[in-house]
């Protein structure tokens, strides 16, 4: 039996559309405190949109998202910013501030929100940069970094305020095998050592299986399956099997909806 207080984030009956396209249709999911939760799904299912809804960068058109029992849509801007100070988010492209150096980027949240001495800030920043292996790149500018390095700096920045909730949007993309291994272990270690809650959006079934406690597979605007990575891997559902084993044929079409191929080619030729 689960304790209600274990539920950190609850998404209830979430409906969200962009234009005429319905992205979520009465989606429900619960993220438990202290766990690493993976959000998976085929491209275009709205995983990043879901992260933006959870962090109230977007507002649900229907339904609600509760964090520690509070409907975040009702929060004032001041309360929202108070809540966001407990979040750390790693964006897909790193989203480093391009006019600041690596060191200044990581120090940015500390300088904006704390009155710590410069010396202490410097210690914290170097510690975080050391954790992602980029202490030596502290004076570089974001334009001088490779994609993988930028993502690691962004990770250092996401964790610099010691957040309660760390959100990773595609953290494993573009990393070399060594960095990938380090980051995967870092995600797990930080979660356990600091007692935080992690939400990871990823396509990388193999990597995510090694770190996630619970996974949600999102498809067609709903949660198609949930459970531990092992449970998902052995699930009977055709959709889950197709996704977990990377099969071309199955309920999720590889091709985007299009008119008949032959008809279109011959039609164009006749035009």
């Amino acid at each position: 039996m689960t304790d209600e207080s274990d539920n950190l984030i609850e998404v209830r009956d979430l409906t969200f559309s962009r234009g005429h396209r319905k992205i979520f249709d009465h989606l429900n999911l619960t993220i438990k405190r202290g766990e690493v939760t993976a959000l998976m799904g085929p491209s275009g299912t709205g995983k990043t949109t879901l992260l933006r809804l959870i962090t109230r960068q977007l507002i649900p058109q229907q339904g609600a998202i509760y964090i520690e029992g509070i409907d975040i849509a009702t929060l004032s801007q001041a309360k929202l910013y108070e809540l966001r100070q407990r979040f750390g988010m790693l964006f897909q492209n790193g989203a480093l501030l391009t006019d600041l150096s690596v060191f200044e980027n990581v120090a940015f949240p500390l300088l904006e929100h704390t009155k710590l001495s410069r010396r202490l800030i410097s210690h914290i920043v170097l510690t975080k940069l050391h954790a992602v292996g980029l202490r030596g790149a502290a004076d570089m500018m974001p334009a001088e970094l490779s994609g993988g390095m930028a993502r690691r700096v962004a990770l250092a920045r996401a964790m610099v305020m010691d957040p309660d909730i760390l959100i990773y949007d595609e953290p494993f993309v573009g990393l070399d095998p060594i960095s990938l291994g380090v980051i995967v272990r870092l995600v797990r270690r930080m979660n356990d050592a600091l007692g935080i809650t992690s939400i990871v959006v990823s396509h990388d079934v193999e990597e995510i299986a090694t770190v996630a406690d619970r996974s949600f597979l999102i498809a067609d605007g709903k949660v198609a399956a949930s459970g531990s990575p092992d449970e998902l891997r052995t699930a009977n559902s055709e959709l889950v099997r197709q996704f977990m084993h990377g099969m071309a044929d199955g309920p999720v079409a590889f091709h985007y909806e299009a008119p008949d191929y032959e008809e279109q080619l011959l039609g164009r030729e006749n035009e």
Binding site: R52, T55, Q57, Q77, Y81, E82, R84, Q85, F87, M89, F91, Q92, N93, A95, L96, L97, T98, F108, P109, E112, H113, A154, R157, M161
Partner: protein, 257 residues
């Protein structure tokens, strides 16, 4: 017919909605401005440098040639009436009251306004503004307000430099080239140009500074976050600012006459 009526209705509604949002955006900038000016003056100074100091070369070169061409025109017309001594006055009036503020604002839109729009638009396209939001840092306060204030402060200073260098250009043509008596050239300016004329130029450059900076940050903040969207927003900044400046110039001149 019904379709076109509906289009007119929808376009008018969209225009009013955008105009309302623009005014609210301006009020937000004003609300945060005193706080940023007094608590984060370093950010404002950096933007005065970016928008002002980096525009100096284009402003000075254009000011010099505009002043010189004004003196050429004035001399060729005044000399018909043997009133060559008034060459400086004609150039000074045109520079201080009209061309100084107007041309500086249009050059400012082309040099600094486009830089502001594209910088903010690219920050949006690369999720930098979203990242700030997620770090509980208000991007309007941290990014837009210092840039807006930087433009507002830099614009009157640039207009003053434009007019000053313009007068120097007029001096080169009138005094050095056409041998107008240097004493008469400057004394006529001193006797004729009133403090109210200078005040008109200052008012115009301040209003144009607010308009040009506001339009630049608005367009950047509302740019569609793609390469094409940022490009379009940058173009709109120049076009809308140029039109706004000329309309405001007419309104202020009419009000002060």
């Amino acid at each position: 017919m019904r379709r076109s009526v509906q289009d007119i209705y929808e376009n008018s509604f969209e225009f009013l909605r955008t105009f309302g949002a623009f005014q609210l955006f301006f009020l937000r900038l004003l609300r945060y401005s005193p706080g940023i000016f007094f608590s984060r003056f370093d950010l404002v100074v950096k933007q005065v440098y970016n928008t002002g100091a980096l525009s100096l070369v284009i402003i000075m070169v254009c000011g010099l040639f505009v002043g010189a061409v004004l003196a050429l025109q004035a001399y060729s017309n005044m000399s018909v009436f043997n009133a060559e001594d008034w060459t400086g006055v004609a150039a000074a009036f045109a520079l201080v009251k009209e061309l100084g503020p107007v041309l500086t604002a249009i050059l400012f839109a082309g040099r600094a306004g486009t830089a502001l729009t594209s910088e903010i638009g690219l920050m949006k396209a690369t999720d930098q503004l979203s990242a700030m939001e997620m770090m509980a840092v208000n991007p309007v306060r941290r990014v837009l307000v210092p840039r807006f204030l930087g433009g507002v402060i830099a614009m009157p200073l640039l207009a003053a430099i434009f007019s000053g260098i313009g007068l120097f250009g007029a001096h080169l043509v009138g005094v050095e080239l056409f041998q107008v008596d240097v004493g008469s050239f400057w004394q006529q300016i001193q006797l004729t140009l009133e403090i109210d004329d200078v005040r008109e130029g200052i008012i115009k450059s301040c209003v144009f500074g607010v308009a040009a900076s506001l339009i630049a940050v608005w367009e950047g903040y509302n740019a569609v976050p793609t390469a094409e969207g940022v490009g379009r927003a940058t173009t709109r900044t120049v076009v809308i600012t140029a039109i706004a400046i000329l309309v405001f110039d007419f309104m202020i001149t009419a009000a002060l006459i």
